[in-house]
């Protein structure tokens, strides 16, 4: 495998990491809940799409749409019903209860999905062509995945930076009480953040299934990788998360090629542990 294609694979993987982790970051920043069911939300949408398009024979576009809708409903359920007891608490108690609640949801979703739909693997086939620029060869699936995730990340960034809603979300993240004092409705924005996170993560699932296959059992893995990226980038910084995602994807891909999957994962974990100890605010700090 030559280096150029490794770089490209790494960047795509990293962009997908960024997509998953940015949802985690947003939800943690605003709701103070570390959503451990985030990867399961991703799998929920791919499994729904796979079941609808393969078993029921729906057209792919419709199945994708329904997959997104199911994930959005699950995120809304998470925010509006499941986390009610957590929102009644403050500070560390809320974080711990949120952690346990989402962990419990993650395990029930995981168990349910692998029992009910053990064969719901999703692979999205895009028209195949190859682009050659100078000495670089790109497959169409890679190009589409890279462009789509880049577009999503840019629009997320612009949404947070340029729109009024984005500003409100950032203010709630920085100082919840201050933001509430100037009249920003926290419940509305919390739901919005959960919906955005759900949307992005289900799109990340589809993008992942353009370049690879996503199975019903992979939710835990996605959650953990998203969490690791989130920690490296800083749990409150979107730009840090995006940067950390791409960096992690690149480094991880190279490490896998050099020392194998398990040891690469171990190296990544050790790096995360060092980050937690040395720079708990993330590599870019608390900057947006």
């Amino acid at each position: 495998m030559d280096i150029i294609s490794l770089i490209f694979d790494g960047v795509i993987l990293g962009l997908i990491f960024s997509l998953i982790a940015s949802g985690l970051t947003l939800i943690y920043g605003l709701g103070n809940v570390l959503n451990l069911a985030h990867g399961e939300l991703l799998v929920l949408s791919t499994v729904t799409t796979a079941v609808l398009s393969q078993l029921l024979g729906l057209p792919l576009i419709l199945a994708l749409l329904l997959g997104v809708i199911v994930t959005l409903l699950a995120s809304a359920f998470l925010d509006k019903i499941l986390l009610i007891p957590a929102y009644r608490l403050v500070g560390e108690d809320r974080i711990i209860l949120g952690l346990y609640m989402t962990l419990a949801l993650a395990y029930s979703l995981h168990g349910g999905l692998i029992t009910a739909f053990p064969n719901a693997y999703l692979t999205i086939n895009v028209p195949f062509f190859v682009i050659e620029i100078a000495w670089i060869t790109l497959r169409s699936s890679q190009l589409i995945a890279a462009l789509a995730s880049f577009a999503i990340l840019v629009s997320l960034y612009l949404f947070l930076k340029r729109t009024w809603h984005g500003m409100a979300i950032r203010s709630l993240t920085q100082n919840e009480i201050g933001a509430m004092l100037v009249g920003i409705p926290i419940k509305k924005y919390r739901l919005m953040v959960f919906i955005i996170g759900g949307l992005i993560v289900s799109l990340a699932g589809f993008i992942r299934s353009v370049v690879a296959t996503v199975g019903p059992e992979s939710g835990v893995e996605f959650t953990i990788l998203g969490l690791l990226v989130c920690v490296i980038g800083g749990v409150r910084s979107i730009s840090g998360t995006i940067f950390a995602g791409i960096l992690t994807g690149l480094v991880y891909t190279f490490l896998i090629a050099m020392i194998g999957t398990y040891l690469a994962y171990v190296m990544l974990l050790v790096f995360v542990m060092i980050t937690v100890l040395v720079r708990p605010q993330g590599i870019l700090g608390e900057r947006w």
Partner: protein, 323 residues
């Protein structure tokens, strides 16, 4: 120095009843090796839960590496025995000390770096994942995904007992010693006061002069030692040492459930939690992966409506002398 004299009689009765129950229970099921096997397994999970309860329930250190610490103990003991480098007792002692050291280090790091609960959780979760992946990757040492077997460990006087009962009584003995020790520490020493203060409010505890950091790191040390000890004996008991035995889903998850169901920071809580979980687990065994769904949904409902656990509930409504 006796701190709480009020319910001393009731409490010592409970402890005695517990000891007698543990002594008699296997004799009732002597013809059913499977039940004794399950009881022994429950004992080990109870030990893990005890350690986790001390870490998380009493000092608010969210260690998500219970399985990994127990697993390190089991692997070290197993490898030492397999290579014939030491006898079983030395191996168990060595792995206990090693895991205690690791736990102390982790606890000290998290206290000194003033990590918030969630970062301690992430840090220890990373330890769990490192452990699982290393044991799978280092095939020549650990036997990879399928692990390795250890057989014919001799335990001197206990050897005339059948395999299951031998480990049942060994684990019960450790469990009772730990319970009584914990009981003594919690209700008869200044350390017990310190725990109660930290449980109520960490900052205030620090302000009135309790050396919170020291209490936390010492708890980390002893809880990890307990994990290493019970983990390495658990390895001897199960005779097969494989990564899946110590994975997050097979140790940490049930342990959290046991502690939350029974009651965080209580001594009898893990006993009740473990009994309930074991019975439920046996009833649901046929369902396979669906048990995860039931576990998850149960946990959600427990957290939403019954967060303080069974013991707190009983304490408030029925028997204020429970502990």
């Amino acid at each position: 120095m006796v701190i709480e004299e009020k319910y001393i009689k009731e409490r010592s009765y409970v402890l005695m009843a517990l000891a007698i129950l543990y002594l008699v229970l296997p004799l009732v099921f002597i013809d059913m090796p499977y039940v004794i096997f399950i009881l022994t397994q429950m004992n080990f999970y109870l030990l893990f839960a005890f350690a986790f309860n001390f870490l998380f329930g009493l000092t608010n250190q969210l260690f998500l590496s219970v399985g990994a610490f127990a697993g390190i103990g089991a692997y070290i003991t197993g490898i030492l025995l397999r290579e014939g480098m030491s006898g079983p007792v030395e191996a168990v002692i060595l792995s206990t000390l090693l895991v205690a050291g690791i736990g102390y280090l982790v606890s000290t790091l998290s206290v000194k770096r003033r990590l918030v609960v969630i970062f301690t959780g992430v840090f220890t979760l990373a330890i769990t994942l490192v452990f699982t992946n290393l044991t799978i990757a280092l095939v020549t040492i650990t036997g990879g995904e399928t692990g390795f077997r250890i057989r014919g460990v001799n335990l001197w006087i206990l050897d005339w007992l059948p395999h299951n009962i031998k480990y049942y009584y060994l684990s019960s003995a450790i469990l009772l010693v730990v319970t009584i020790l914990a009981y003594y520490i919690l209700f008869y020493t200044k350390m017990g006061y310190a725990y109660q203060c930290i449980l109520a409010d960490e900052l205030t505890a620090e302000l009135i002069g309790i050396y919170v950091q020291r209490v936390k790191t010492l708890t980390g040390l002893f809880a990890s030692a307990l994990l290493g000890l019970s983990g390495s004996i658990y390895g001897l008991f199960s005779q097969l040492i494989a990564p899946s035995y110590f994975a997050f889903a097979s140790v940490d998850l049930p342990v959290q459930l046991i502690v939350i169901l029974g009651g965080r920071g209580t001594l009898l809580g893990p006993y009740i939690g473990a009994a309930v979980i074991t019975v439920v687990n046996e009833l649901l065994r046929l369902l396979g992966p669906l048990t995860l769904v039931i576990y998850g949904v149960t946990l959600i409902f427990l957290l939403a409506f019954f967060r303080n656990g069974i013991i707190e509930f009983l304490k408030r409504n029925l028997a204020p002398w429970l502990f």
